[in-house]
Symmetry: C2
Subunit: 114 residues, 2 copies
DNA sequence: ATAGTCACTTTCCTAAAGGGAACCGATAGT
DNA sequence: ACTATCGGTTCCCTTTAGGAAAGTGACTAT
């Protein structure tokens, strides 16, 4: 019984960590876009993520990079462009994105019924 | 091409809706506990969700009920107790919880490495 | 010289989330 | 009369997320 309690405590910590990292208004959308296009510039991401401001986008990208989910590459172009791409490790996020997407679609229908 | 763009816009809306509903510090933990025990009283939930205050717990539960994910039942006991239980529909959340839990566990390991 | 592009940063602000502590009403036990 | 339990609510406060708008620096094109 105590064993099970410990396991569920670990589970709670894992869930809390995950949602602390991925929660918020933009992270999943950014990862979804990067997942789709594989590599995008700052401006691309800004245009795809309708409504985001450069300040906020910049912060989200930094946090994702800090957590090893994306890479940032400065290109030798003029004017400078910067490419963002998901890491191999970011594939671990895909099940979460897909589950969230699936639930979100169903839920939009469900709430429409009311 | 335009078709694909429309599909991805719908996807983004679905993801945004889902994270708007389930984001925040406590919702997934509450759903995880209810998923495990099936029916819990207010006080049980308060004790399991370490650190939560009654005000915040109350708000989370109301939002989950509004979204048809849990039911609230007042019991005929003394003093009054209130039971919360996941709805059948709440099963749709399980894949999200599991994916988040799985990623969270892996990520805790990953970050420990650094 | 001027205007434009890109990837930001800076400053200022507001709204929302969340926490602390106390309180409440109904009821029960001693 | 006093204390406790349960499921909250109320009030106040701090922290954080996020948005608006402007600016910056390196470079290019006209």
């Amino acid at each position: 019984m105590d064993i099970n309690k410990d396991i569920s405590k670990e589970d709670i910590l894992a869930i809390k960590d995950a949602i602390e990292l991925l929660g918020g208004k933009w992270k999943f959308c950014i990862l979804y876009h990067l997942n789709t296009y594989q590599t995008m510039r700052f401006k691309d991401l800004q245009e795809m993520s309708v409504g985001i401001t450069p300040k906020v986008l910049s912060k989200q990208l930094q946090e994702l990079e800090d957590n090893l989910l994306i890479t940032r590459t400065v290109n030798n172009t003029k004017p400078v462009t910067v490419s963002y791409a998901p890491t191999k490790y970011a594939e671990e996020i895909n099940p979460v994105i897909n589950a969230l997407l699936s639930f979100g679609s169903k839920h939009r229908e469900k709430i429409k019924e009311k």
